[in-house]
């Protein structure tokens, strides 16, 4: 007989593992990745490859420096760095080959500084991919905003984007010329690698919901609130609702970035508040700056997550019902008032 094992309860566990969840996220990203490569060709593939390799290597080298045995490094590798690399690359514009150092450095920053420095998987305060993108955006502003190229498929409506992106046009007050269908399919839309084709993101979203990695409400709240507040801020023109949510990186960010477990509150009540606030901030920042601000809004919201997690909690099963609690408070106030008189 082999060794008898003694452990803590429960002795049966669900089959789900962190690795499996991360694999599901990777699978969900694949449609957006394929769409990006089809639309923007070799440049897109090149950027993604650099970012993923850079992220994974950063993690491994970090662990090697920390003298973790090589065997353990591969055993404990949970795919999170691949996810970070993919999400980061897809949120970058299809940069020219000469800018290879941008995905490389942002990958190193995302995993090295944002994740490993804080203790690795699960310990990071802000989303590594989002922070990597913001790092690239601030550090290489010129390259990041000049790299827009037309996708392989022209728009169905026959129009061409005149400004940098549809969103920047729209925020500057120009009505979008592209049809909503174009914006949805990504045909003729300039933008970052992964965010142009909403239909590809939607496939990933459905996969994540079906696999129960995320709840369907999460991205819907972010997108819905952003759209509503955006419409209200732009003169209550509800015809702008669809172009407003379909352009820019909103849907991409809402599906893949905002749903990140580590950097959002763990209980659903706090999560819903988090997403509503995030939607409001995205719309306000878009209005205030005139550029796409989803990544900055997510970054800002990440910072208040610990507060939300601690202070917004559901009441335990069997607590005094909220209504009764309020009534008792009022009854007490009434008594106090009575005494004063």
């Amino acid at each position: 007989m082999q060794k008898i094992i003694v452990s803590d309860t429960p002795h049966v566990r669900s089959k789900l593992t962190t690795k499996r969840i991360m694999l599901d996220v990777i699978i969900a990203i694949v449609p957006a990745l394929v769409a990006g490569i089809v639309f923007f060709g070799g440049r897109a593939a090149f950027n993604v490859a650099i970012a993923v390799v850079s992220c994974c290597l950063t993690e491994w080298i970090w662990l090697l420096i920390k003298k973790v045995p090589v065997k353990d490094i591969f055993k404990k590798f949970d795919f999170t760095s691949i996810v970070t690399g993919l999400l980061l690359a897809l949120s970058l514009p299809p940069l020219d080959y000469k800018y290879f150092y941008i995905p490389l450095l942002s990958g190193i920053f995302a995993v090295g500084v944002v994740k490993m420095l804080f203790g690795g998987t699960g310990k990071n305060v802000v989303n590594p991919a989002v922070t990597g993108r913001v790092f690239a955006f601030i550090s290489f502003l010129g390259a990041m905003t000049s790299g827009w190229i037309q996708p392989a498929f022209g728009s169905i409506s026959g129009e061409v984007v005149t400004g940098a992106t549809v969103l920047t046009d729209m925020l500057a007050g120009v009505r979008p010329t592209l049809s909503n269908l174009d914006l949805f399919l990504g045909t003729g839309v300039t933008g970052c690698i992964g965010e142009t084709s909403k239909v590809a993101i939607l496939i990933g979203y459905i996969y994540l919901v079906v696999r129960r990695v995320i709840k369907w409400q999460w991205p819907v709240i972010v997108v819905g609130v952003t759209g509503l507040v955006g419409v209200l801020l732009n003169g209550c023109d509800f015809t702008l609702f669809l172009p407003y949510i379909l352009s820019g990186g909103l849907i991409y960010g809402a599906v893949f970035m905002a749903t990140d477990y580590v950097t959002s509150p763990a209980n659903n009540l706090a999560r819903y508040i988090y997403y509503v606030l995030m939607g409001v901030i995205i719309a306000l920042l878009r209005k205030g700056t005139g550029i796409e601000t989803v990544s900055f809004a997510i970054l800002l919201m990440n910072l208040i997550v610990p507060l939300l997690s601690l202070h917004v909690r559901p009441r335990p099963f069997g607590s005094v019902p909220f209504g009764v609690l309020v009534k008792e408070k009022f009854a007490k106030l009434g008594k106090k008032g009575g005494k004063a008189e």
Partner: protein, 433 residues
Amino acid sequence: MKITKGKRFSGGTHIPDRKELTADIPIEIMPSPDIVAISLSQHIGKPSVPVVNAGDMVSVGQLIAAEGGFVGANVYSSVSGKVAAIEERYNPNGTKSNYIVIENDKNDWSAQPLPEMEDKTAGSILQRIRLAGIVGMGGAGFPAAVKLMPKQAVDCLIINGAECEPYLTCDYRLMKEKTDEIHTGIMLLAKALKVNKVYIGIERNKPDCIKAFSEYDDITVVDLKKRYPMGSEKHLIYSCTGRKVGLGKLPADAGAVVQNVATAYAVYEAVELNKPLYERVMTVSGKGIIHPKNLLVRNGTPLDMIITYCGGMRDDSAMMIAGGPMMGPTMLSSNLYTTKTTSGLLVTTSDEVDMSGPTPCINCGRCAEACPMRLQPMLIDFYAQANDFEKAAKYGGVKNCINCGTCAYVCPAKRSIVQSIMLSKKKLAEGGK
């Protein structure tokens, strides 16, 4: 014929029940063992006080230890023979308590069953339950008579036939084979409690039991969804009556008393057959056991004898569990003994149980979503790891935890959340709060 659907509580999870190993195997009477060691702390409350000495001859059903206080229980000999020793031995959970060790002479000589009852009033039934040493046989082992004398006004009795722990089928077999006897026991319990409303909650994976009990007009069968931890007192009360037991309150505060089906059967035996509680049905299961069985075993039977009786262990057995796999402790050796509350003995192979170590928490929130008490297990785990138990109580709500283990079951990072919870509770109790 009354069947109602159970009310759904938030949280909980679906766990593959793996009951097929023993569900169709009838209860078998295990031959009495050569030696028994009967624990004096088989219940919650004061340990029982031995009334026999080493060297005394005892008969089956003879009182060998009397209740040590109001919250206590009598203990009866399960075999006839000579008391070899009264000594400290290990309990399955690793603690120690006193045991009366009896060498079986295999005469099965029963001298003095409990006296015939003159009348069956509420008072006399209660007295009989107390005398027979009946405790809650679902696992907690709270003296049944004490539970049936609540200080608050109670208007319903709920019988727990949920059996939500995977593997275990002892309650199922009992309900199937002894339906009439259990029904009689339930009505006796209701009489002792002076209530008219009687519910029996049975999980949907036991449709034949739901049907069998729906034949009686005086009890309402509650058809419960298969969901762990359905058998938790608080959640069973909610499912059956829609009432919530307040935090830190007793079921009686919600007007309900919960008893297990096995307890109801023991009450039937004590009242109708004048038999004290000295044996019970338990499930011996798991892939590591050659012939899984439902056994009627005598109190104090050594576990290794049970394993031998069931054909022994497979070579690749990895873990021995006393009770169910969700809440039962693992055992280091089989040199331990059954008690009034031993509902199961599992020997599992390594592919049945999870033995992967913990990985970092990714804050996915599945534990919080699955927690039937709506607590924040990830915060308890986080603060317990940081030795900040006050915060584990403040933000995680560890004091209201029912130890069901659902959080750790669903955790994709396989964290030892229950261990953190136990540690927090212990440290908080030591801190005098």
